[in-house]
Structures are given as structure tokens and as C-alpha cells.
């Protein structure tokens, strides 16, 4: 039996970064707002020292993540394979519970560049016709950097972004990233202190003629009070960052930056252990009327709402749209339909270097600490000459920070026994990594749909991911591998090992790649090729807004959280200034 609760002005599905931000914005506008979170409640008390300093619980058993038993995804590389479920997470780490992925993220807070938001236009202007493969579905976001800039700026103040600006109002600043878009303001806080790996990387890349800058970090470098009155303390490099909640009030998260301010408001409430199973369509064919959810006791509840905000992790948002039959599912054969279209991920590569002469103390580490070059971004060099569109940033960060995951022994040496033990002791703390984080273009045969075989405990189909690496993106990664080898040549380690994909390699979900899953419910200006319009408003239901990186038409080299947050504020601005007064489509189709 389904119970119906009293209606609310707005229901938010998922209480991570986007749900928290939209909660602030809509309660500011005077709406009664209810957030429904599938996972458990998490407050700052859960992160008090020493609780997070537990590598087995958080770093290995991944206890802050969505439980695969509750809902996982199935993966195949092409349409001829049968998809198999991720039985426990290996290739990415979707968050769960209040704070979502924002509670366990690393804290690398980037903006997109102007080009990254307009890749289609850039491609049309840059490449000869026929250069890009026919099956590449790249598109523009439909929103420009100039439009998003004030929202990036505000979120950077919410998060206490620490680092060095490279371009303030068009003026280039030494030591910052000269390839970033112009900012109206410098970073709120200065960069984190520099580790040994930072210094080695900076020296080597400068010698190569490149432009190193500090990782833009949402682990704050100094005490900070944000616009909501929330306070952050300087990061102490505790070494428990990515996959962990912050034990020092230093990593920006919904808990440290938003939620205590939001929970004080009488017109906000939230319910945990409440899993939304359907968005319910109205009979008018133009709106939705609320959501169905199952509470922690297994009761099915209908929650009516005038406004539905889908603020889940990208793959979960796409699945809920498919299960709810809101929007036309994508069909890769006819290249029609939209839900599940343009699913993208992240192309990564890495190098590990051993230095007998250096001692790095790898447990001294902040997730957002590191040094980066953007010299090989999509628009900073002639990628056509190398046969691809796209780019990557190349970086270092000190680590790995744990003990279980921190042991490294020489290639080809035993993995157990006395020799392993001697190597583990002698080599610990003598390693430095280089990484490339690269763009991923969208392709016609890379997409999300519902799995025909595997189901969740409710009997609903799991999401199926059809994903493989493509030649364009692998060429890009190989190019970045060569650039990392240039850095290795400067640094002259005793030996190094590489994990760099090559053309012909296929997606390997048995190893961690990235949690930057993007697309599948993309934004745009044409309802034939996007799920939501440029305000993140659903084309087929004007009172449904879909937030998050599911809106990215293809993935960029820069980490998604900054753009996810800026898009949320952008969407909120148009809901508050235009939609609430006059509910209806915020734009007409521009096919």
C-alpha cells in the first residue's frame, strides 16, 4: 500500500553537493523544501578524529560508498558482450549517504575552460572536415564560460578554494595556470604548502618550458569563513582524504560548507534511508507530480511536490529517469532518443618513479595538494598534428598515503615472502607519481541503458554501461604518456614503471580509473540531442530539473565538481528569477 505524504514545494532527490546547494537556493526563495537521501545520515561528528584515520574501513572496504548490493551497474565494452555487474566497486567509487560523493571526494576544485564548454564550436573552427570520427557525438553545453563565471566564483568562496590564480580579468599571473579562463577575483586563499614531490615536479616542468601551478584545492590552506557562515580550518596534511571524510574541518564538503546552515532553516527538512524509486509523471504530459520512495522500514510513500530536483550521482540520475520513463531512452542503432546518450568517463594514465636518494614521507598528503601543467589542453597546442581532439592535465601529488595501499616493490620482484618484505621496507617512501587526467569524447555506441538481466532488491533493472576506450582518446593518452616520459627524463629516477593505455587497449573495469562518470542526461539547446535544456530543466517536464555531471555533453580534463556546482547555481538563479513566477519551459528548442 502506498501512503501519500503532505505535498511540498520542492523535493530534492539526493543530498550531496548539488542537493545541498539547491536546498540553500530554494529555501532562500521561501519554498518548503524536502530532501530525500537513500543512504544514512552523516554529520561532522562522524568525521571527528581519529575515526576517519582507518584505511581498512574507508580506503579498502570503501564504507562511504553506495552499496553494490543495493544498486550496482553492469558493464560491457560493446553491444556484442553480455554485461557483468560490478560486484564490489573497482573502477569508480559512487558516494552514498548525506554529503554523497562530496563527503569523500579528493577536493580538486576546477573550472571548465571556455573551450571545454563549447567543444563542438571549437572543433568546427579548428579541424578540417572529416578529421573527427563519424561516430563522435561531441556537443556544446549551451551555456558559456562568461555565464557561469559568477557561479564558479561564488562556489569557490563557499569551498574556500586555495591556490594561485593564473588569469584575473585577463591579466596573466606568474605561478598560476595561464591557460585557465579569466576570473573576476583571485583565489579566496593562497596555495597549500609545497611537498617534495611538488618541488621536483615544478623544477622539471619549468626546465621543459611548461607552466606548473598548484592544484586548485578545496582542502583549505588557511582558516576560512564562507558566505553561509560555515568555518573551515587549515588542512594538516593528515593523509586520509580521497575516500575519507575529513577529520580536520579542512576539506570542503556539504557537511563542512553548507548543511549546518541549511538545517537551521525551518523551511528545510530531510529524510534519510529513503530511496526514490520513481519520479511520477502528471497526466498533463508536461510536468511531474512528485516521487515514489521506499523508507527505511520498507514502506512505499508518494511524496507530492510542485518542483522535483534530481540531484543524485550521475549514473543514478540516468537510471531513475529510465525507470520513470521520463524522456525518450537513447537508441544507439538509430542514434535517436536522449536518456543515456553521451555517457563519458575519464582517460587517465600514470607513471611511478623510484628514487633511492629521496624520502617523500608519502603519508604526509592532502588530496588537493600537488602541482599541475595545463600546457597540453585541447586548445593550447596543435592536437590535430597528433591525430586527436582533446587534452589532459599532467600532475603530481604526494602519496600514496596509506599503508595497505602504500607498499611498492620493484617490478618483477616477489609479491610475498622475505624478499617482498625486505623490498617493502627498503622502497617505502621512495616513490613519486605522475598522472594524466584526460578528456573523453562522446561516441554513438557508448551509452547507458537498463540491463536486461540483473536487477536490484526492488526488482528494478540495474543500469547497464556500454563503454570502451576509442582510438582518438587513446592517442591523446599516449601523447600524454610521452610528455610524462619527458618529465621522467628530467627527474632521472632509479627506475620507473608506467600505466599508460595504448591504441588497441580495451576498457578494464577491474582497476580504479576515476569516479568522474559524466553524461547520460546531457544539457543542450536541442531536445533531440539533450535531456535537459541549458538551465538543466527537463525538456519533457518543465518542473523537473536534473543536476550534476550527468549534464556534461562529453567529459573534460578538469575535475567535474566545480562545474557541477556552478551549473547548480546557474540553474537555481533561473528557477528563482524566472521559473517560480511563471512556471513553464525556460527556453524553446533551438534545433
Amino acid at each position: 500500500m502506498t501512503t501519500t505524504k503532505p505535498g511540498v514545494d520542492a523535493v530534492i532527490i539526493g543530498l550531496g553537493w548539488t542537493g545541498s546547494i539547491m536546498g540553500m537556493e530554494l529555501t532562500d526563495a521561501g519554498l518548503d523544501v524536502l530532501a530525500l537521501e537513500r543512504g544514512e545520515d552523516r554529520t561532522k561528528e562522524d568525521f571527528l578524529y581519529p575515526k576517519p584515520a582507518d584505511e581498512l574501513k574507508y580506503g579498502v572496504r570503501l564504507s562511504m560508498m553506495q552499496r553494490p548490493r543495493q544498486a550496482t551497474v553492469t558493464i560491457r565494452r560493446n553491444q556484442n558482450e553480455m554485461a557483468a555487474p560490478q560486484r564490489h566497486w573497482t573502477t569508480f567509487h559512487p558516494g552514498n549517504g548525506v554529503g554523497g560523493a562530496g563527503a569523500h571526494w579528493t577536493g580538486v576544485l576546477y573550472r571548465a575552460t571556455p573551450t571545454e564548454l563549447s567543444m563542438k564550436r571549437f572543433a568546427d573552427e579548428t579541424f578540417e572536415p572529416g578529421f573527427l570520427p563519424d561516430n563522435m557525438n561531441i556537443q556544446d553545453y549551451g551555456v558559456t564560460y562568461e555565464e557561469l563565471e559568477p557561479h564558479y566564483d561564488f562556489f569557490e568562496k563557499v569551498a574556500g578554494l586555495s591556490g594561485q590564480a593564473g588569469n584575473v580579468q585577463g591579466a596573466l599571473i606568474e605561478g598560476g595556470n595561464p591557460f585557465e579562463g579569466p576570473r573576476q577575483n583571485p583565489f579566496p586563499l593562497p596555495p597549500l604548502p609545497r611537498t617534495l614531490t611538488d618541488t621536483l615536479f615544478t623544477d622539471a616542468t619549468r626546465k621543459l618550458g611548461w607552466h606548473p601551478y598548484p592544484y586548485p584545492s578545496a582542502n583549505v590552506s588557511e582558516a576560512w569563513t564562507n558566505p553561509y557562515g560555515m568555518q573551515l580550518g587549515p588542512c594538516n596534511f593528515c593523509g586520509y582524504c580521497s575516500n575519507y571524510g575529513c577529520l580536520n574541518y579542512s576539506k570542503a564538503s556539504p557537511q563542512t560548507c553548507v548543511l549546518d546552515a541549511l538545517k537551521r532553516r525551518d523551511n528545510f527538512s530531510y529524510r534519510t534511508q529513503c530511496e526514490v524509486t520513481r519520479i511520477v509523471k502528471s497526466d498533463d504530459g508536461q510536468t511531474v507530480k512528485g516521487v515514489l520512495y521506499t523508507d527505511g522500514d520498507g514502506n512505499e510513500i508518494f511524496q507530492p511536490a510542485r518542483l522535483v530536483i534530481l540531484a543524485a550521482f550521475p549514473i543514478n540520475s540516468v537510471r531513475l529517469l529510465l525507470l520513470s520513463e521520463v524522456g525518450k531512452p537513447y537508441d544507439p542503432v538509430s542514434n535517436t532518443g536522449v536518456v543515456g546518450r553521451n555517457f563519458t568517463y575519464q582517460l587517465t594514465g600514470s607513471v611511478d618513479m623510484y628514487f633511492k636518494r629521496h624520502r617523500f614521507n608519502p603519508f604526509i598528503n592532502a588530496g588537493g595538494s600537488g602541482q599541475v601543467i595545463d600546457d597540453f589542453s585541447p586548445d593550447t597546442f596543435d592536437t590535430a598534428r597528433h591525430g586527436f581532439i582533446g587534452g589532459a592535465y599532467i600532475y603530481t601529488t604526494q602519496g600514496p598515503s596509506g599503508a595497505i595501499g602504500g607498499v611498492k616493490v620493484p617490478p618483477g620482484s616477489p609479491s610475498w615472502g622475505s624478499e617482498w618484505k625486505a623490498n617493502a621496507k627498503a622502497h617505502y617512501g621512495h616513490h613519486m607519481m605522475l598522472g594524466s587526467t584526460g578528456s573523453n569524447m562522446a561516441y554513438r555506441d557508448v551509452y547507458l541503458d537498463l540491463d536486461p538481466t540483473y536487477r536490484d532488491p526492488n526488482g528494478d533493472p540495474l543500469l547497464r554501461m556500454t563503454y570502451d576506450w576509442k582510438e582518438n582518446d587513446l592517442k591523446m593518452t599516449q601523447f600524454m604518456g610521452d610528455r610524462m616520459r619527458d618529465i621522467v627524463g628530467e627527474l632521472k629516477p632509479d627506475y620507473h614503471t608506467e600505466s599508460i593505455k595504448r591504441v588497441g587497449d580495451h576498457f578494464d573495469p577491474s582497476h580504479y580509473q576515476s569516479t568522474h562518470l559524466t553524461g547520460g542526461a546531457i544539457m543542450g539547446t536541442d531536445p533531440n540531442t539533450s535531456v535537459v535544456n541549458r538551465y538543466l530543466q527537463h525538456w519533457d517536464a518543465h518542473n523537473l530539473f536534473v543536476l550534476g555531471a550527468s549534464a556534461f555533453p562529453q567529459n573534460m580534463q578538469h575535475n567535474p565538481t566545480g562545474t557541477v556546482a556552478a551549473l547548480t547555481y546557474w540553474s537555481a538563479k533561473h528557477i528563482r528569477e524566472r521559473y517560480l513566477e511563471n512556471p513553464g519551459p525556460l527556453m524553446s528548442a533551438q534545433g
Binding site: 560486484r87 564490489h88 593528515c238 580536520n248 614521507n361 602504500g406 618484505k421 573495469p509 577491474s510
Partner: protein, 242 residues
């Protein structure tokens, strides 16, 4: 919690959370030293929650080979790695409580698809130890634990290489290298995880590396390049090992 009832299940007091162990050990005669106020009982007084006696003998011997005591310090036995594995297998991890374990199980997929076996970690151990036991009986006429060290190493290398056909030994859907991978991974976890989980006794694993455990506060050390960090580890419960 175990797959089959065993003769230790009546010891329900041992089946409680590991947090109860210090209370039990209050009666054990473990001398407290200045460098590690660790009052867990010696391994000989530990009653496994998951493993049966023959399985326990295998785990003691196998982990001793994987991380032996030697010139570089204590090994898996002194660090109580078997206790860690036993407690993990008796709990949520052993039961794959968070894992997606619905079929169909496509066990013949390439390794890129990750774990696709139909077994919980607890079942992997139960089946893997059983098959290894049958193998040792056939090959050597005795149990793994009764072999000499060189023979034990030979068997472990064969497991690791996938050279022992478990199917022919009566255990289906479990390649020997998969069993070995669990055993090795969990042994290292038990050597390097916080002592609150039963292993890494006296923080022996952390001492080997120079890893400071849960200190988690290093701001003044960020720019001390190429200098060894001077302080020994602390654990979640505040134990120290200078």
C-alpha cells in the same frame, strides 16, 4: 555468520565484536610494556570465530610463509594476521554483505570484468582450504601445515600460478589463483590495517614501513624534505610504538 556450524559456535562470547577482546584479555597474563600497551591475548589463546581447527592450522602456516618473521622484523604470526583474517571472514566482509551477489554468475569472463565468482569471501576460504588440503594429501600424503617450509612455499607458488586444478579436487568455480589472491590480499591487510581489527599487533607492519598510523597531523612536516619522520605509529585506540 559461518557457512556451516562448527564446534566453536557455542563460544558465543567470542562471537561478539572485536571490541570485547580487551575485556576478555584482562584475565590473560600479557605483560604491558612501555612501548605498546597492547593487551590482546597471545595467538595460542585465541579461539577462531570462523575457521575450523584444520583450516586454522592452514591459515597459521600459510600466512607465516607469506609474511615470515626474519631479519626485517616480526611476520604475520607475531602480528596476529590470522586473527584479522578470522574476524574479517566472520563479519560483513566474509559474508559479502555489501556486495552484489545475484546471479547469473559469468565465471568465464576475462579478468577485466573483476570479481564474478559465486562465492562470498568466507566461502572462497572454506572451499580453497578444502581443495588445497585434498591436494596436499594426494601430493604429499599429509596436510599443508605438516609440510616443511620449502614444500609449503612450493604449494603456495602453485596456487598463485593457478597450477592446481581445484575442479579436479572436488571444488567447482574457484580457480586456485583466485583463492590465493584473497589469501595474499587479506594477509597484507592484516599486517597493515589498524590493530583494532585484530592484526598488525604492536603495529609491526607499520614499524616495518615507518608508517605513522593514525597520527594524521603533519602540517609542520610538509616542507621537511628528505628527512625521515621521527615519530613512531599510534593506533586508533591511542596505542603507541616508539
Amino acid at each position: 555468520m559461518t557457512d556451516q556450524p562448527n564446534n566453536w559456535q557455542r563460544r558465543t562470547f567470542m562471537r561478539q565484536s572485536f571490541l570485547t577482546i580487551p575485556a576478555i584479555s584482562a584475565v590473560a597474563s600479557v605483560p604491558l610494556s612501555a612501548w605498546a600497551q597492547d593487551d590482546t591475548p597471545p595467538l595460542s589463546e585465541y579461539y577462531p570465530r570462523f575457521f575450523e581447527p584444520q583450516e586454522w592450522a592452514f591459515i597459521l602456516a600459510a600466512t607465516d610463509r607469506l609474511i615470515p618473521a626474519d631479519d626485517n622484523g616480526p611476520g604475520a604470526i607475531a602480528a596476529h594476521v590470522p586473527v584479522f583474517i578470522d574476524q574479517e571472514l566472520a563479519g560483513d566482509y566474509g559474508n559479502a554483505s555489501d556486495w552484489y551477489m545475484d546471479g547469473p554468475f559469468l565465471s568465464d569472463l576475462p579478468a577485466e570484468f573483476g570479481y564474478q565468482l559465486p562465492h562470498t569471501p568466507a566461502a572462497v576460504y572454506r572451499l580453497g582450504i578444502k581443495a588445497t588440503h585434498v591436494y596436499c594429501q594426494r601430493q604429499y600424503g599429509t596436510s599443508f601445515a605438516a609440510l616443511d617450509k620449502a614444500q609449503q612455499i612450493t604449494v603456495l607458488e602453485a596456487l598463485e600460478a593457478g597450477e592446481i586444478d581445484f575442479n579436479a579436487l572436488g571444488v567447482a568455480d574457484l580457480p586456485s589463483q583466485s583463492f590465493f589472491a584473497f589469501l595474499l590480499q587479506n594477509t597484507k591487510e592484516g599486517f597493515f590495517a589498524d590493530p583494532i581489527y585484530g592484526g598488525n599487533r604492536h603495529m609491526a607492519g607499520w614499524k616495518l614501513l615507518g608508517f605513522p598510523g593514525a597520527r594524521a597531523n603533519f602540517l609542520e612536516w610538509v616542507d621537511q624534505y628528505d628527512r625521515p619522520y621521527p615519530l613512531g605509529p599510534v593506533s586508533l585506540k591511542g596505542l603507541q610504538n616508539r
